[in-house]
Structure formats: structure tokens, C-alpha cells
């Protein structure tokens, strides 16, 4: 923590001087019509320094440069989608807001087309990662500016893996199962969320499905494709994986449960974002030392996948001065500004701009490097189909998660596939 704060303040000096230069130009060009104040709404970060950096460094620097005050409004964890929905529905409230997952698609008509500034920002930042388009491009238009990906990786106890003779993290799901059987026997079971959270369940179950060569819906986004022998194999594997390596409780877990179980030393491996390692290092240094992070294992296809969890920034159409909001986002995403913001969060928010591919913050904690490497094969739920409304409904109804969970609880593979198939056919009828 202390390191993060020191690092932040060192960079502040550079940042503010740079901000003044860029902002001065923008400010002069728009001196007449600029609004006095704009609001950016964000889900409060579990890294306090991240929110503080915007409030104490970014916003004052922009105000100094342009005279425009940027209010940073934080929303408690888990309620940003409800707030975004309210703002989009009522057409009042913050001008800019953080989005996640496929929301730029959900709020499409209420979001300003930002294709022009996405191009500018991309050019300045060494180009966008290919999958940023997956999250923000709706009907050929960029509806938000990608900010960072909160990756989901395998989090495991290196000491306990060592004890059973597993020196490096298994490369395939089959090898991980083998290791898990040994670890459960040694009193260190695995714990992967199979309940109704909003991230840690989808975070490993979709990648598992994909790595077995299965998919929910075909590429056309219309044909339900869940009923396949690949899905059956993935389910059979998942059931065995659950029964032989995990705690029964995982079936009822929400997103906090696996963090709690890992940090209280009940489990030896889970799938989570960087928060476990971050909190372990801060509050449980002994566990922190023995925590490793690795990319998801490969399936029978020889491929590995990850969940794409992009945080993006959108501008609502009710914004009185759209250009002012665009100017701010361009300024914010300029490497001179945004680098500092990424830095304070170490590598929790993996940038979508290629110029950060080898940025120093990736090396502050080398255990986070797999997050960077996982970007290339990260996708949104429903992939390879494009994002769509029925897809959102399927995720909200936990169709894929429950398909696996019911199998783990003992239902037959045939039955759970039939259930999911019927549900998906109903959901995708309108597609």
C-alpha cells in the first residue's frame, strides 16, 4: 500500500505539468462554450487509492487546465448497473459513466457514438486490443471507450501444490483435476463458484465450456448450439471436478465466498480476479507469499480461454455539451494522464491499449503477468456469437451456470443439457 501511494505522488508532479500543457490547448479552443462542471460515475473500487487518484489528481489537474470541474461520483460495489439503468432511462444525472460487460450494447441508444475519439485515443496509445471491439462496438459504432479489463485467473496456494508434488500450475483441466484429487485428500479442497454471483461463476464456466470446443449459441447469434457432445464432455468433466476436488458449499456461493474461503485457508485453488492476491498481501502476508496466479487450463481442444470483463466509459446522450465530455475522455486516456491511474491500481485494470503491453506496472508484481497474457483469449459470455439482448437474458437467468451446477448436484448430463437447450431456445426465439 505504501509503495502504491509513494509511486502515485512521484508521478503526480509529471502528470500535472503535462495536464496543464494539453489541457491548455483544449481549453483555449473551447473557452466560450465550456460547461462549468461534468460528472463521471464509477463503481467504487476495492482499491481505495484508485478512486482517490481520480478525485485528488485527475480532476484537479483537469480543472486547472480547462476550468471544468469533474465530479467523481462513486456507487457501491454491485449497484452500478442499476444506477446506469436509471440514468439511461430517465435521461438525467451524470454525463459520463463507467460501464461493464456488454452494457454499451444494452444502453446503445442512450450512449453517444464515440468512434471518432476512440480512433484518436487508439492512435495515440499504440492501437486497441482486438477484443475491445467485442465489448463496445455496436452496429459498427464505438459506444464507449475501453478502460481496463478485470481479468479472472486461477488463484492457488503454491505451498500446498508443492506438498503434493505439483511444482508448476497444471496446463490442462485434466491435470488440474489430478492435482485437485491429491489436494482434497491432503485436506486442501478446491473451491470454484457454482452459485448465483455475478462474476466468479461465469468467469470459469464459460472458459471451461469453450475449451472443450462447446458453445451456447452459434456464430450467427441465433442458432442455439448448446446440445452437443462437446457440451456433454464439459459437463461430465465439471461434475467429476466438483465431486472429487471441491466443497459442496460451492454450489451456493456468491462472489465474496471464494475470497473468504481462500483467505481463511479453506481452499487451495479458485478462479478469481486479482483481489485475492491484493488483499492477501495487505492483510494476510503469509498467505500472500504462497499465492500464485495462472492462466486458465487448456481443454481437449488444446486452447485456453478467459472471461472478458471490460470496464469502459460511456457518454450519455442527455449530456448538454457532448464535445466537452469527449474532450475530457480524450484527455483522460492520454498516456500522460491514464498511466498514473493504471499505476495506482497496479495491474487490476488491464489496459486495452497496446502501448501498455509491457508497462512497468506489469512488472511491479510479476505474478500478475498472466492477466496481461490472458487478454488475447478473453471473451464475453456467449462468444463466439456477438453480444445481443437474448444473450444478456441468458446470463441474467444463469442458464449456463445452472446447467453445470445442476449436473454437479447430481442431475444427469442429458437432462441438464435438455433444460438449458429448452431455456435457450425460448430466449433466442426473438433473435
Amino acid at each position: 500500500m505504501a509503495n502504491i501511494i509513494q509511486a502515485a505522488s512521484r508521478r503526480d508532479i509529471l502528470k500535472i505539468s503535462a495536464a496543464t500543457a494539453v489541457g491548455g490547448i483544449l481549453g483555449a479552443a473551447r473557452a466560450n462554450a465550456s460547461p462549468k462542471q461534468m460528472t463521471m460515475m464509477h463503481e467504487s473500487s476495492f482499491i481505495p487509492a484508485y478512486d482517490a487518484y481520480f478525485k485528488n489528481t485527475i480532476a484537479p489537474a483537469y480543472e486547472k487546465a480547462t476550468g471544468i470541474k469533474i465530479v467523481y461520483e462513486t456507487v457501491s460495489v454491485g449497484s452500478i448497473q442499476t444506477r446506469d439503468t436509471t440514468v439511461a432511462e430517465t435521461g438525467t444525472g451524470p454525463e459520463m459513466a463507467q460501464m461493464a460487460f456488454n452494457w454499451p450494447f444494452l444502453f446503445d441508444e442512450k450512449l453517444v457514438d464515440v468512434t471518432d475519439i476512440a480512433k484518436t485515443i487508439g492512435e495515440k496509445g499504440g492501437g486497441w486490443h482486438a477484443n475491445s471491439a467485442e465489448a463496445v462496438v455496436v452496429n459498427g459504432k464505438w459506444k464507449a471507450i475501453p478502460f481496463g479489463n478485470i481479468g479472472q485467473l486461477m488463484n492457488y496456494r503454491t505451498d500446498w501444490f508443492d506438498e503434493v508434488g505439483v511444482k508448476t500450475f497444471p496446463e490442462t483441466w485434466a491435470e488440474l483435476l489430478e492435482a485437485g484429487i491429491k489436494l482434497k485428500k491432503a485436506g486442501h479442497p478446491f473451491g470454484f463458484e457454482l452459485g448465483h454471483g455475478f462474476g466468479d461463476n461465469h468467469g470459469w464456466l464459460y472458459p471451461l465450456l469453450w475449451s472443450f470446443g462447446a458453445m451456447e449459441v452459434a456464430k450467427d447469434g441465433k442458432t442455439v448450439a448448446i446440445d452437443s457432445s462437446e457440451t456433454a464432455k464439459a459437463i461430465d468433466f465439471c461434475r467429476e471436478f466438483f465431486q472429487k476436488t471441491m466443497l459442496e458449499d460451492c454450489l451456493g456461493w456468491t462472489d465474496v465466498s471464494n475470497n473468504k474461503a481462500f483467505l481463511s485457508e479453506q481452499i487451495s485453488c479458485t478462479n478469481n480476479a486479482e483481489s485475492i492476491l491484493y488483499i492477501a498481501k495487505r492483510d494476510f502476508p503469509e498467505i500472500g507469499k504462497a499465492t500464485g496466479q495462472a492462466q486458465n487450463p487448456k481443454g481437449p481442444t488444446g486452447e485456453r480461454y478467459h472471461m472478458l470483463n471490460p470496464w469502459t466509459h460511456g457518454i450519455f446522450t442527455h449530456t448538454p455539451d457532448v464535445q466537452a465530455a469527449k474532450d475530457f475522455l480524450v484527455w483522460l486516456m492520454d498516456p500522460k494522464q491514464v498511466t498514473g491511474w493504471y499505476d495506482v491500481a497496479v495491474s487490476y485494470y488491464g489496459p486495452f491499449l497496446h502501448m501498455f503491453d509491457d508497462a512497468p506496472f506489469w512488472h511491479t508484481e510479476p505474478r500478475n503477468l498472466p492477466y496481461r497474457d490472458s487478454m488475447a483469449n478473453s471473451h464475453l459470455p456467449g462468444w463466439p456469437a456477438p453480444i445481443s439482448r437474448p444473450q444478456s437474458e441468458s446470463v441474467a437467468k444463469y442458464v449456463v451456470v445452472d446447467m453445470f451446477a445442476k449436473a454437479c448436484a447430481g442431475k444427469s448430463t442429458k437432462d441438464v443439457i435438455a433444460d438449458a437447450n429448452a431455456q435457450l431456445k425460448q430466449i433466442f426465439k426473438s433473435a
Binding site: 457454482l194 451456493g252 473468504k260 481463511s264 479453506q266 441474467a396 445452472d402 451446477a405
Partner: protein, 305 residues
């Protein structure tokens, strides 16, 4: 003097007008009616309208008639949610009714620190649900649960049961937490009802040779019936539409075993962005709830004799 007199005339005419029964009654009834129309009627009507539309979030709606309801009827999860809601409401209400009555009868006795204990009894009801539910979350966590710790310590079971991971236990756990939270409401209301029963009646019954069971059966229960009816009606409505407990503890998992109408509607409308379909699920609560209330009022409403 005369000036005051002239000034008073229109006032008194206005007063006379407002004091006419026809006008006065409307003046009294107007504000609450307006309040109800704005805060209850409008959202309710808007909810009905939404349920008849294909209305994705942030998009204009398209009228689709009953298509959302038809889709709900073909959705197996919808039926599972309906069964869950009935099971949850039935068991939670019965347990609260029996437990609440027992608690009220106990609290109606004379004992030391009676007032302090009555006040303490209300705690589960006063503490914000989300806070107390988080405490329950820890108690239901197999690793931290005091029950599991006890089972492990005494060698009865190791590992202890998974309170929220097993579908049946998860529903049971939610019912227990709901009963814990709702019991004080029952107890305190029934206690108020008990205190209105005249001691003379008990004396008369005792003289007639009634034992404690007979006094309860033929004096307490009939006189308490109107209060039991009201409190059960409220409880059924609150329990049927419960959201917070489920949302904090399981969010409807494992595999929809604890999803209720309110949480399922929220997931579809908010996470899925399908406001119309979400509204249709929420509105599906109305007919069964109305039927329960009507049946209850027929069965339980005391007849004036």
C-alpha cells in the same frame, strides 16, 4: 371594529362552505387519494403497461400484448420460482405465527425486566435487514458457522452441512432467517392484542372450571383472531415479495433453488435489461397473492355477532 367585521365576512363564508359535509369530506379524502394515485396507482399502472411491452432497457417499447406472460409460462425457471415462493411464504408464515404467538404469550406474563426484554425482543426487526443478513451469511458459512463448529467439536459431523450450498438446506436456511427477522413483528402485535383481553373473562372461565388450555382455546384465541388475521395478512404480503434476504445470501442459487418472484424479476429486468419481461414476472405475484388474501379473509375474518 367595523373594518375587522368586513374582513371577517368572506372568511366565515369560506369556512361555512368548507364545513358543508359534501365539501369537507372531499377535502379530507382528496390529499390521501392524490397521494395514493401518484405513489401507488401510477407505478402500478406503469408496471402493468410495461409487462405488456417488449421493453429493453434504454429503448422505446413495443406493445406485445400478453406475449411476456406466455413466455413466462413456457419458462421452467418461472414455475420453479413460483413453487419456491409458495414454499417460502407458507413455512415462514406458519413458523412466525406459531412462534410469534408463543413469544407473545410468554411476554404477557409478569416477570423481572419485562420491559427491557420486550424492547430487546424487537432487535431483529429494527436492525436493517441487509446488515443482519450479512451476519447470517457468516453464521451459515460452513467454515465459520457456530453450528458447524459445534458439530465438528462434538464429533457429530465433519465437515458440517453446507447451509447455502445444498438446495433443500438453502431454502430451509432462508426460511429460518426470515422467521428470525419476522418473529418480533408477530410477537409485539399479538402482545398488544393480548393486552386488550379483559382479565374478567379469564376469571369467569376459571370459575366455570376451564383449565389453562381451555382458557387459551375458548377465550384467548377467539378474541385474538382479528389481530392474527391482520398480522398474518401483512406477513404473507411481505414474505411473498421478499427480496433482500435472498439477494444477500444466495441471489437465487444454487441453481435457482431459492429464487423468488422478486429476485427473479430483478435479475431479468436489471441484469438482463428486459424491463417488460421483468415486470411480467413481478406482476405474476399479484393474482396468487390476491387469492391468498381473499381466502384468508373469508376463512379468518371474525363475524360480528
Amino acid at each position: 371594529m367595523s373594518a375587522t367585521f368586513v374582513e371577517q365576512r368572506p372568511t366565515s363564508r369560506l369556512r361555512r362552505w368548507t364545513e358543508r359535509e359534501g365539501v369537507f369530506s372531499w377535502l379530507m379524502i382528496g390529499p390521501p387519494t392524490l397521494f395514493l394515485i401518484l405513489l401507488v396507482g401510477y407505478p402500478f399502472a406503469y408496471g402493468i403497461w410495461l409487462s405488456l411491452e417488449d421493453r429493453p432497457v434504454a429503448h422505446a417499447g413495443k406493445f406485445v400484448g400478453l406475449a411476456n406472460f406466455v413466455a413466462d409460462f413456457h419458462d421452467p425457471v418461472f414455475w420453479q420460482v413460483a413453487i419456491n415462493t409458495f414454499v417460502y411464504t407458507f413455512f415462514a408464515t406458519i413458523l412466525k405465527m406459531v412462534g410469534g404467538l408463543a413469544l407473545a404469550l410468554t411476554m404477557n406474563q409478569d416477570f423481572r425486566f419485562k420491559n427491557a426484554i420486550r424492547a430487546l425482543m424487537l432487535l431483529p426487526f429494527i436492525v436493517p435487514t441487509v446488515l443482519s443478513t450479512i451476519a447470517w451469511m457468516w453464521m451459515l458459512d460452513p467454515g465459520f458457522s457456530i453450528v458447524n463448529w459445534f458439530l465438528k467439536y462434538t464429533g457429530i459431523a465433519d465437515p458440517g452441512p453446507s447451509w447455502l450450498g445444498n438446495p433443500t438446506l438453502a431454502m430451509m436456511s432462508l426460511i429460518i432467517v426470515n422467521v428470525w427477522r419476522g418473529l418480533p413483528f408477530y410477537a409485539i402485535t399479538l402482545l398488544a392484542g393480548l393486552q386488550t383481553i379483559s382479565p374478567d373473562l379469564y376469571e369467569a372461565a376459571t370459575i366455570d372450571g376451564a383449565g389453562s388450555w381451555a382458557r387459551f382455546r375458548f377465550v384467548t384465541l377467539p378474541l385474538l383472531k382479528p389481530v392474527i388475521f391482520i398480522v398474518t395478512m401483512f406477513s404473507v404480503i411481505f414474505t411473498f415479495a421478499d427480496f433482500q434476504l435472498v439477494y444477500v445470501l444466495t441471489r437465487g442459487g444454487p441453481a435457482n433453488a431459492t429464487h423468488l418472484f422478486a429476485t427473479y424479476a430483478f435479475d431479468i429486468a436489471m441484469s438482463g435489461g428486459q424491463l417488460g419481461m421483468g415486470a411480467s414476472v413481478a406482476l405474476a405475484m399479484l393474482p396468487p397473492l390476491a387469492l391468498i388474501i381473499i381466502a384468508m379473509s373469508v376463512y379468518m375474518k371474525p363475524h360480528k355477532s
